[in-house]
């Protein structure tokens, strides 16, 4: 059989963002308010 020299054959790895990151995003979303005036949108963060 052919010998394979590569150490890492497949670097594809399933990963998931940490629950803290997801939690941060959900809180960010809750705190973000966007108001539109004269065609320009203004962001405000209620944190």
């Amino acid at each position: 059989m052919e010998k394979l020299y590569a150490k890492d054959h497949n670097k594809c790895k399933l990963v998931k963002a940490k629950p803290e990151t997801v939690e941060f995003l959900l809180n960010y979303s809750k705190s973000l308010k966007i108001t539109k005036a004269k065609g320009i949108s203004f962001e405000s963060n209620m944190n």
């Binding site: 670097k11 594809c12 399933l14 963002a17 990151t21 997801v22 995003l25 959900l26 979303s29 539109k36």
Partner: protein, 193 residues
């Protein structure tokens, strides 16, 4: 296909104010997007950062009402993360690793200079955004900026045409750029291709 339909419903619910819909969207695509980012950057911490930045952009775009629903939520999010990955490598001035294949694909490092349709659309959008922003500038700054950038005039020619000294023209250009940057920051506009 089933997911696409559900995605669009979740997006609608989220835009209507249901925060749980966002949790569902993130939960559904978390692994796919994280794995995609990780396959490019090969670093867990960087993956977290890019994932976070990606969804912050998604959240802002959805809340601004700037997302057009075409049943392509995941490809859209993937494109945002792809752009952020490119930004990351640009900042770090190193090329991404070539993984998973023994053959080196030359087209991953070279390409033709011509913009593809998508990039052309983005460029047109940037140009039109920029035109609107320039309109917000005070007249004297706008005048100098238009002459310099769009008419490619020298500051000497600008000073002759506007009847001010070269230094004043230079100062107006400087303030025009400062104010443009402020407007871009304030309105959170992304001017990248």
């Amino acid at each position: 296909m089933e997911h696409q339909v559900e995605d669009s419903l979740l997006i609608k619910r989220y835009i209507d104010g249901d925060e749980r819909a966002l949790a569902a969207l993130i939960g559904r695509h978390n692994q796919r997007i994280s794995s995609f980012i990780y396959s490019k950057v090969n670093d867990r911490e960087v993956t977290e950062d890019i994932f976070q930045d990606t969804f912050m952009k998604v959240i802002r775009t959805l809340k601004r009402g700037a997302y057009s629903e075409e049943g392509k939520f995941l490809p859209w999010v993937m494109r945002i993360s792809h752009n952020l990955i490119i930004d990351y490598f640009r900042k770090n001035r190193r090329l991404p690793m070539f993984e998973g294949a023994d053959t080196f694909n030359i087209f991953s490092v070279i390409g033709d200079e011509k913009l593809n349709i998508e990039k052309q659309i983005i460029k047109d959008q940037i140009d039109s955004d920029l035109t609107l922003l320039i309109e917000e500038l005070p007249n004297e700054q706008k005048e100098v900026l238009l002459m310099r950038i769009y008419k490619d005039m020298s500051f000497k020619e600008i000073s002759e045409n506007t009847g001010v000294s070269i230094n004043t023209a230079l100062g107006r250009m400087r303030y025009a750029l400062i104010n443009l940057r402020k407007l871009i920051d304030q309105n959170n506009i992304v001017l990248t291709n």
